[in-house]
Structure formats: C-alpha cells, structure tokens
C-alpha cells in the first residue's frame, strides 16, 4: 500500500501506484469533492471562464464559475479583463444576477454598495449617516472592501482565471502543445453562435476521463463511426503536455481505407445506415493539416473541440459530487459567408446535448456514476495501450486518462 500524505484522504486508498487503477470513491466521496475545490479549482490551476468574444466591449460582463465558486468576468473601460467572486463585500449577496450583460458599474441590490468594472468599491449608501446619525465607522476604508479578485489572463481569445497567487503564467501552465492547438483553431477573429447547457448526473471527472479517451469514441458513438467522422482505425494521435494534465486527441477523416473489417464484430458499425439528406455532413476543409477532429482537454475544466466544421469550447462546472454542468459555446469565424453559416448550423446537429455524435457522453457518465455508488474501494481498470501515461500515434489507447490520474493524485495529495 502506498503512503498517503494527507490524512483527509486517508480513508481512500489507491490500489496501485500510478493512474491505471482508480478507486471509485474519488467520484462519490463528498470529502474528495471538498478537497478538489480547495486544492485543484482554487489551487495551482487556471480555469477557463470565457471567450473574449463574449465580452468585447467596455462594461460587458459574464457570470460563470471557477470550480463551484461563482465569478464575474468583466471588461473595463481601458479594455482590460477582470475576474472577481460574485459576492458582495458587505453581507455576501450576488452582485450580478444575469448570465451576461453590460453595465457602467456593478450595484448590489441588497444595500446598493457600488463597484467599478474592476471590482473596486466606489460607493456605500449612508456612509456618513443621515442627519448625523448612523454611518460607517470613521476608519472605514473603501479600498479594503472591494470584491475578491482573481488573476485573469487571456490567450488567443480564451480567458482563464485563477484564485492562486503562485501558479505559473498561463502560457507556461498550458505548455506548447495545448497552446498550439488553441492558436490553430483561434487563428482569426471568431463570432459566437450561441450556447448549449447540459446537466449531467455524475461526477465531473467521469467527463474528464471521457474527453481523454479515444478508445470509446468509435465504439460508443455509432453515428461517428458509421459515417467515418471518427474511427479508431483513422490516422490520429493521443498526446499530452509534459505534466500529463492536458491532452489532445486528433483524427483525420478519410484515412482508414480498408480497415472497416475491424468493426464487423462490434455493435458500432452499421453499413445499412445511409442518410436520406447527406447535406448534414457536407462541409469544407478549413485546416491545411487535414485534421478533421480535435478534442483538446485542458486541465481542469475546458475542452476545445473541432468536429468537422463545428467549433466549440466546453466548460465543465462541478455542481456537487454527483452533478456537473457542461456549457458548450459554439462559434464560427467573423468572416464566415452565408454558406458557411448554414454548414455550421447543420453540423451543429452533431454536437451538444442533442448531438448525434456527442449525446452519448452524458449517458456514459450517468451509467457509470449510478453503478459505482456502493463500491468506493473497488476500482476501474485502465490498461488499453499498455497501462502507461504515454503519447500514442494511434487511437487505441487510454494513456491520456492514466496521465490525468497521475497528475490528479499528485495535486490532490495522494502519493504517486
């Protein structure tokens, strides 16, 4: 048995070193969930919070979450980005009560304390009392009572925030691989096409596993496989950053000629299934590299995706140990023509909670979560591709999931 550094986690042991055996308790134990909020979401990590294109103008704001802490992302008059906890410094009321909006300053409705766009306190009603009565203490200093601020940084149009004073700068946190993958998709100005919100009854890490899992993608998602949008026999890679916390899988449509017999014994491939309106899958090649599918998972809460001509960021918001919300923000490029708009609208059928190739992921999370609740000390078995956190130049691997768990163990305080 491994030494466990932290007494808070002492009741839950990993059955072996590394990340290839995961005790189910990490998905169901409220104590683990509480520690994650501290050590992970409020610890040494950057959480994705917005696209810059969602808040382009002075006074634009968006309310969202870092872990399960409510935050506001705001753009100030000088164009700078700010993030603060959505909680009044007076007695804790929410400052912003809409999903998004535009304001000159933020006014708490409860007692009308006012904050500027950077989160500084600028007004307190009856501060000096009325008719010589009441009022705040003489030593009350507005500067000491601003909103709780987070560090915020943007990269290629994606905005991240952190509670940590010490985490490395965002570029270094991401590392070269995720940075290049983001810059590839965010290569020119985008336009936001809308959001989709999905509420899944399962632990958020089951989804973190799912998005690092090329193994399931052609076996669970029959639609994907049948139409060749993704098959494990295609050319593709499954790669990680140096610390194994982020991962990317890619695939190239049309590179799997003659390999379909591999699927003949599975439920997955249905040769009789033809579309009566193939315009659903008509599209354009947008990237010179021939890569038609990218799932980039950025630790802890972001997925950046390209599936054919659909582009989206998915934000994972934990809502308790057994629930999470998934917010899909879909986008195109600002210079898309009318035909491209239509292509993205139609291919939008592929993704989101009603997506022909993505709806099953929520289902996979739920059927796992329901089945593990009574067996916290039993564990999963993750071995495809060699039981190691290794990059692969193919798609028959679970190496990135193992990498995720190794990093997770370390940051949470379980000995490796």
């Amino acid at each position: 048995m491994n030494a466990i550094r932290d007494p808070a986690l002492g009741h839950l042991a990993w059955p072996a070193a590394g990340g290839s055996r995961v005790p189910f308790g990490v998905f169901t134990d409220p104590a683990v969930y509480e520690l994650e909020q501290q050590r992970l979401f409020r610890g040494e990590s950057w959480s994705f919070v917005a696209l810059e294109a969602e808040i382009p103008n002075s006074g634009d704001y968006k309310t969202t979450f870092v872990g399960d802490s409510p935050v506001v992302i705001s753009r100030a008059e000088d164009g700078s980005l700010h993030a603060y906890v959505n909680r009044c410094a007076h007695r804790g009321a929410a400052i912003c009560r809409e999903l998004r909006g535009n304001v000159q300053n933020h006014l708490c409705v409860y007692h009308q304390w006012a904050y500027d766009l950077k989160g500084n306190l600028i007004g307190v009603p009856f501060r000096r009392g009325l008719n010589g009565q009441g009022g705040m203490p003489a030593d009350f200093d507005m500067k000491q009572h601003g909103l709780q601020k987070l560090r915020v940084q943007a990269l290629a149009g994606l905005v991240f925030a952190t509670f940590s004073e010490s985490v490395e700068p965002l570029e270094d946190y991401l590392g070269p691989m995720p940075r290049q993958a983001i810059e590839r998709i965010m290569s020119r100005p985008i336009k936001v096409l809308g959001d989709q919100r999905q509420f899944v009854a399962g632990n958020w890490k089951l989804y973190a596993e799912n998005t690092r899992d090329p193994y399931h993608a052609s076996l669970l998602h029959l639609f994907h496989c049948t139409f060749g949008l993704y098959r494990s026999s295609q050319k593709g890679v499954s790669v990680m950053d140096a610390k194994h916390r982020h991962s990317m899988l890619t695939a190239m449509r049309g590179t799997d000629d003659g390999k379909l017999e591999d699927y003949q014994d599975t439920r997955t491939y249905n040769a009789d299934f033809v579309l009566s309106d193939p315009s659903l899958l008509a599209g354009r090649q947008e990237f010179d590299d021939g890569v038609t599918l990218v799932i980039l998972a950025v630790f802890p809460n972001l997925v950046v995706q390209q599936i054919s001509n659909t582009l989206a960021v998915r934000q994972i918001i934990p809502r308790g140990v057994d629930k999470f919300e998934l917010v899909w923000t879909q986008f195109g490029y600002a210079d898309d023509d009318a035909d491209m708009d239509l292509i993205r609208n139609k291919q939008g059928n592929l993704i989101g909670p009603a997506g022909l190739v993505s709806m099953e992921d929520g289902e996979a999370v739920e059927i796992v979560h329901r089945s593990i609740i009574r067996d916290q000390d039993k564990s999963s078995y993750i071995a495809m591709g060699g039981e190691q956190a290794k990059d692969a130049q193919h798609l028959v691997t679970e190496g990135s999931i193992i990498g995720f768990w190794e990093y997770y163990r370390e940051i949470m305080g379980w000995a490796a």
Partner: protein, 160 residues
C-alpha cells in the same frame, strides 16, 4: 384555407397540433416527418439563444429527409435511457395568415418518464409554427421550438 371560417381554421390547426404530439408521445416517430412539407424547417433552439438572436440550435433540420435521418439515428445509432414523453399543449393561438401560411403559436410542457417509472418536467417552451395547406391536409412548413428549459437534463434525443 380561405374558404374556412376562423372557427373551422382553429379546429383544423388544433387537430394537426394534437396529432403531432400524439404521434411523438405514442412513439410512432417514423410517422413524425410526415407532419412536415418536404422543404421544411424544424429547429429546436433555447430561449437563451433565441432571445439573443443567435443561431445555435439543439436540432436544425431543413428538409424532411433530415427529420427522417434523426429518427433512424435515434432508433439505430444513438445510446440513451429509454423514456416516454407526454406533451401538454396549451394556449393555441392562430395569429393569422401571412404569405400563404397560417401563423400559430402555442405553449408546451413535456413530461419525461424513465424506465424506473418516475416522471419529471423535461422541457417547457413554445412552438412557433407556419402551417400550409397541402393535398394531404395541413402540414408544417416551419416549426421552431423555443425551449425555456435551456439546461437540458443529460440529453435530448426524441424530438419535441
């Protein structure tokens, strides 16, 4: 259509709307595309996006063929928990005739029942319809479903 009195029009529109929900609730989804003209638009869009004038839709089908493909996919490709829908339809309002189509708005509530037998409110929203008269009777030229329940519980596979 022009020959119908307002009361007759209301009757025929109501009949179409009722038959549509009964078709889905009885799980006769193979017949569902027949409620539309060939060159139709069926769009399921969240109120959040509709209010902002943004195009992202949960489902976007601009032909009867795409509707049929949705049904084939959910019968043979997609994986989801077995469930039933029960539509509660209300406030059917025939707004008038515009460019040869009857404009109709109505409210819906969809209750979902899973195999364990529990029933929950799955979706609340509004239908915005343009209905045309064809040789086969009234059909939807355009049906836009704007759903208030924009945080979808897990997944949406059966059409609304």
């Amino acid at each position: 259509m022009a020959a119908l009195t307002p009361v007759e029009l209301h009757y025929h529109v109501n009949k179409l709307l009722s038959q549509y929900v009964e078709c889905i609730d009885d799980d006769r989804l193979e017949e569902w595309p027949d409620f539309f003209v060939e060159d139709c638009l069926y769009q399921v869009v969240s109120r959040e996006n509709a209010d902002r004038g943004l195009p992202t839709a949960a489902m976007y089908c601009d032909s009867r063929g795409m509707l049929a493909d949705r049904v084939v996919a959910l019968r043979h490709a997609n994986i989801y928990a077995r469930h039933y829908y029960r539509h509660i339809l209300s406030n059917v309002d025939v707004k008038g005739v515009q460019d040869g189509a009857i404009v109709v708005h109505s409210n819906y509530l969809v209750l979902q029942t899973l195999v364990e037998g529990d029933t929950k409110v799955f979706s609340a929203g509004k239908y915005l319809d343009r209905i045309v008269s064809t040789a086969d009777g009234l059909r939807f030229a355009r049906r836009v479903v704007v759903f208030d329940t924009y945080r979808i519980p897990n997944l949406l596979v059966t059409p609304l």
